[in-house]
């Protein structure tokens, strides 16, 4: 029986659990931080001492933790790329700009258990010799920003933040910075620009890799809210122990946002890869299936920028067989383990962990038009293909939903979408705005063609009626 595995969400919906520091402390809060700050240097194999910070970073590497923001990049590797010899300060920025449509996991932690995030943030800062950290929070999370400010004040008052944290000699200050309502601020270099007070134009990489030239051109780590929370649990369990959760290369637990045409939408925490997409949708522990007499039509498995799956779609995935050797298997999309590797192998991604379920009442043309409208509105407009392509796609889809479609519009949309992704743009928004179009038009092409033909037929009929009337 698949079931939730609540690590990050362990307390936060328990009756009586409140976001204040007292409650957090009653639940063993900041215990991991105390332990970490008490760590002593340990002699390494070569006799040279290993600093507590290095030991903590090593645990994160051992844990196999992958970033929970969307790209699934190894957290340990990200930390290892930080330029620690530049002589410049190292910054840590918590990306709390959760705005991928369908995603509503980080906000649960921020609103209901802010100190868990702060503990993870302080631990990560300590492990990376960071003395100044920022929480960049989505502008719409007004209450969330207040809650975090309150939590920071509490933590400061109790000596978990500020100068000489818990008598360890370690100093850290954390600031909350509210965004102004732009999706692109979730892109890490756009976020850094915004944090510097500029338009959130994502930076060109190379040379602006945050680990080397990040905030104020200093080495910077940008980690998602959930990732920082997971760091706390990595430190609590130890990296090796944490890595036993989930599946190899997809370790730990993950928050999943389940929405759309299902009976139990909501947020769930699972061991990565231990639950299939089908179980997440149909199992009573999770989505509990579709509404009565509805049939599954499509699944967006990782936020709206992920490529869509069609119900019944078969995908080829390489997975380790019983003997450990890699086997190529053909699976129904519902049989896909919900993890980073499998979904990428199946041609989509688990992205931000947001699953949107669409049943047979969905008009795919309208659904895609809605998604494209979002991306056209959120493109920052810095680079040409995304700036012009995102609005072009939205306009064409608007036309297709407003009776002015053409039979060739499916092909037209696909060709426009093909000209945006694949490294042609500065950031991954190019992929984000074109993947849904490429995949939806390809997999539901008949609907798009039929819509265009229908519109053409109506126009022809209207024109003939007009001729006859003359």
């Amino acid at each position: 029986m698949p079931s939730e595995y609540r690590l990050i969400l362990k307390h936060l919906d328990q009756p009586g659990y409140t976001p204040d520091l007292d409650c957090y402390l009653r639940h063993d809060g900041y215990h991991v931080l105390r332990q970490a700050l008490a760590l002593a240097p340990r002699p390494g194999p070569d006799g040279k001492p290993i600093s507590p910070q290095e030991q903590l970073r090593h645990e994160v590497t051992l844990s196999g933790l992958r970033g929970r923001g969307g790209a699934g990049f190894s957290c340990g590797l990200k930390w290892s790329l930080v330029d620690r010899k530049s002589g410049k300060p190292i910054y840590l920025v918590c990306n709390a700009d959760e705005s991928e449509p369908g995603t509503f996991k980080d906000r649960q932690v921020i609103y209901k258990d802010p100190h868990q995030l702060l503990e993870g943030l302080i631990l990560s800062s300590y492990a990376n010799d960071v003395h100044l950290a920022y929480i960049y929070i989505r502008g719409e999370f007004v209450e969330g920003a207040r809650i975090l400010e309150r939590a920071l004040a509490e933590a400061r008052a109790q000596g978990f933040l500020g100068r000489n944290i818990l008598g360890s000699g370690y100093d850290l200050e954390v600031y909350v910075h509210r965004g102004a309502g732009a999706y692109i601020c979730g892109e890490e270099t756009g976020l850094l620009e915004s944090l510097e007070g500029k338009r959130p134009y994502p930076r060109v990489k190379p040379p602006y890799f945050p680990a080397v030239l990040g905030l104020y051109l200093c080495p910077t780590i940008v980690n998602n809210v959930e990732t920082l929370c997971a760091v706390k649990h990595v430190m609590a369990l130890g990296g090796a122990e944490y890595a036993k959760l989930g599946t190899p290369n997809n370790t730990g637990t993950r928050l999943v946002s389940l929405s759309g045409h299902i009976q139990r939408p909501g947020y769930y925490e699972i061991e990565v890869g231990k639950v299939t997409l089908g179980e997440l949708i149909f199992d009573p522990a999770f989505g509990n299936g579709l509404r009565p007499s509805r049939r599954l039509k499509a699944i967006i498995p990782g936020g709206v920028s992920a490529k869509i799956f069609k119900a019944g779609e078969k995908v080829k995935v390489k997975r380790p067989g019983p003997d450990g050797r890699e086997l190529e298997q053909t699976l129904d999309v519902l049989e896909l383990p919900y993890d980073f590797t499998s979904l990428t192998a199946a041609g989509s991604m688990s992205g931000s962990g947001a699953i949107i379920v669409l049943d047979d009442t969905t008009d795919m043309v309208s659904a895609l038009a809605n998604i494209s409208e979002f991306f056209a509105h959120e493109s920052c407009g810095q680079c040409t293909p995304c700036r012009e392509g995102s609005l072009w796609l939205a306009k064409a889809l608007r036309r297709l939903t407003q009776g002015a479609g053409r039979a060739q519009d499916a092909e037209y949309l696909a060709r426009i979408a093909d000209s945006i992704p694949g490294g042609r743009t500065i950031c991954a928004f190019g992929e984000a705005c074109s993947w849904p179009v490429q995949s939806t038009v390809a997999k539901f092409k008949d609907e798009f063609v039929a819509r265009g033909k229908d519109h053409e037929a109506r126009r022809t009929a209207a024109a003939q009626a007009g001729e006859t009337a003359k």
């Binding site: 338009r199 060109v204 190379p206 509105h377 959120e378 493109s379 680079c383 306009k395 053409r406 042609r424």
Partner: protein, 575 residues
């Protein structure tokens, strides 16, 4: 105004090179090349391609601006040496290094090269990417080139022809944006034509030090704008018009005046201050229509100040002096005029003649004046001219050739200090003949009543003034745009300028009539070409020794000032 200093690119060490292959041709390129500030940084693909003679089309990239990487026109494919499991380079059966092509393209403007890199600029994929970028740029761009002032020097037009598709697939409505936006006193903006390359923004922010321009709105509705409620009005705004690859930013002074393909372009110099910015004069049917900067890394890089750029209208003023005149003019011919003046100079008592020459005259002209003064024992000086300067292109010395005048011994030390002696000598009656070339001396202590006491006042000038009014012999002269010669800028760089337009009426270049006058006074033949004259000057005047006319080339030759005393005190005020 904070401003970038004029930088001279240091030559990179030649041994420090990297081998890359561009479209199958291997070239050794420097590992480091100067960036927009002149700082040596790792060479980029676009620079390597340029060194290999392969042009990579681009809009936002500009060698003298910080890289933005936004237009995506310079996307290329590339490969790197393939590495084996132990990181060792893999070799093909023939022993050459195996190269693994990157699955993703890269922007050539921002991607550094590495040893063994192969750059592919002509693959079908690259061609497709260019075509699609052009398609994207054009879908919301007005397709009205015939009424666009940029036509003829528009990168969108040029690349569309070279790399684009003829037909458009776009059937949606275009985005409409503000047109005829009055951005500032000198610039008009058409936002619909803007391709959002941000060259103007980067120039204004990073070079002119004025954070005046930015982009508002989002996505395809992005719109270039000046800071709300503020005019775009720094001393360097018109450079954005040159930088604009399309017809979005146009100069109020030039827009709709002339189709650019009708313009004749002449290499010249700006004469508004001692910096000596290199310009191209755009003229048509004997009328000057614009100055544009001409690249010279040692002087103005590729920039001009607005004042200098717009300071050309006087050349075509209707009240230009075009006829010989004066009460001592025996007949209205140059021959008669020069004979009269020569006769007077030959018979003058030593010490009774003085010359005021303009530091706006060319080196060659000042050289002739120097010889003339030597023959007649005349004292000489110039009229110094100073004004506000800045730390960039605008120099406090408002004469284009002060250093030339100093090196040729024309100007006193300090410049202009002899003018009061001239005034006193006129008052005492010892100075009886005054030659004034290109200056109004009346505000400089040589007022009309003093000039009226002279036996003979010979004046040449371009425009009428209170000195020309009193001339006994008035010789109509030429603007620099009407003749050929050289100036020495404040840093000692000797640079050439050439004739763009004909002088009006009977006006003649000073260099011509000074040569004739000197021949008549000295009885010695003088070279009758700019080149010959320059070489004679170089042979005679140590400050020009070793220079040749041809050797000056397009960007001049440096002769740094030995003594920096020529500069008027830099009473620079912040612009």
């Amino acid at each position: 105004m904070s401003a970038a200093a004029v930088v001279t690119s240091p030559a990179p060490p030649s041994s420090d090179t990297v081998n890359v292959t561009v479209d199958g041709r291997t070239v050794a390129v420097p590992r480091l090349l100067p960036d927009w500030r002149g700082k040596l940084v790792p060479t980029t693909m676009i620079q390597a391609c340029e060194q290999a003679g392969v042009e990579v089309p681009h809009y936002c990239y500009h060698a003298k601006l910080p890289v933005a990487g936004n237009c995506r026109m310079c996307l290329v494919e590339y490969g790197l040496p393939a590495l084996g499991p132990e990181g060792q380079p893999l070799r093909k059966p023939d022993g050459s290094l195996a190269v693994k092509k990157s699955p993703r393209p890269a922007i050539a403007c921002a991607t550094p090269i590495s040893p063994g890199m192969e750059i592919y600029t002509a693959t079908p994929e690259v061609q497709q990417m260019r075509a699609s970028v052009l398609e994207f740029l054009l879908i919301n761009h007005p397709l009205d080139c015939p009424i666009c002032d940029q036509a003829g020097e528009c990168k969108l037009q040029e690349y569309s022809v070279e790399y684009g598709h003829a037909a458009s697939r776009f059937v949606e409505t275009k985005v409409h944006k503000p047109k005829q936006v009055d951005l500032g006193p000198r610039i008009m903006l058409d936002d619909e034509r803007c391709i959002l390359c941000t060259r103007c923004i980067r120039f204004t922010r990073d070079l002119a030090g004025d954070d005046a321009l930015g982009i508002v709105n989002r996505g395809s509705y992005n719109t270039l704008a000046a800071y709300p409620g503020r005019a775009f009005d720094n001393p360097y705004t018109l450079n954005t018009v040159d930088l604009c690859p399309v017809g979005a930013l146009t100069a109020k002074d030039f827009r709709f005046q002339m189709r650019v393909w009708f313009l004749k372009e002449t290499k010249s110099l700006c004469t508004s201050c001692g910096t000596g910015c290199n310009v191209l004069i755009g003229s048509r049917e004997n009328r000057i229509l614009r100055y544009t900067p001409r690249a010279n890394d040692a002087v103005n890089v590729c920039w001009l100040c607005d004042h200098g750029r717009l300071n050309y209208r006087w050349i075509g003023r209707p009240d230009r002096l075009r006829q010989l005149a004066g009460s001592r003019l025996p007949a209205p011919t140059w021959d008669a005029a020069l004979t009269e003046v020569a006769q007077r100079l030959r018979h003058a008592v030593p010490g009774s003649v003085a010359v005021v020459a303009s530091a706006r005259l060319a080196n060659e002209e000042l050289y002739l004046i120097r010889r003339l003064a030597q023959h007649t024992g005349a004292a000489t000086d110039i009229v110094p001219r100073s004004g506000p300067g800045d730390a960039w292109l605008i120099h406090a010395d408002k004469n284009p050739n002060s250093l030339g005048a100093q090196r040729l011994g024309i100007s006193a030390d300090p410049a202009g200090s002899r003018l009061s002696q001239f005034a006193a000598a006129i008052g005492q009656g010892t100075l009886r003949t005054l030659l004034v070339f290109g200056e109004d001396v009346t505000p400089r202590g040589l007022g009309p009543e003093l000039l009226d006491r002279l036996e003979c006042l010979v004046v040449s000038d371009i425009l009428p003034n209170r000195t020309t009014e009193r001339a006994h012999v008035l010789l109509p002269g030429c603007a620099h745009a009407e003749k050929c010669g050289s100036f020495t800028n404040v840093h000692g760089r000797v640079q050439r300028f050439f004739k763009a337009v004909e002088p009006p009426g009977g006006a003649r270049p000073e260099v011509e009539f000074l040569r004739e006058l000197l021949q008549r006074v000295s009885g010695e033949p003088q070279p009758d070409t700019a080149e010959g004259l320059f070489h004679r000057m170089a042979a005679e005047v140590p400050a020009f020794a070793g220079l040749t006319w041809a050797g000056l080339g397009d960007t001049g030759a440096a002769r740094p000032p030995e003594a920096e005393r020529v500069r008027p005190r830099a009473d620079a005020t912040a612009g």
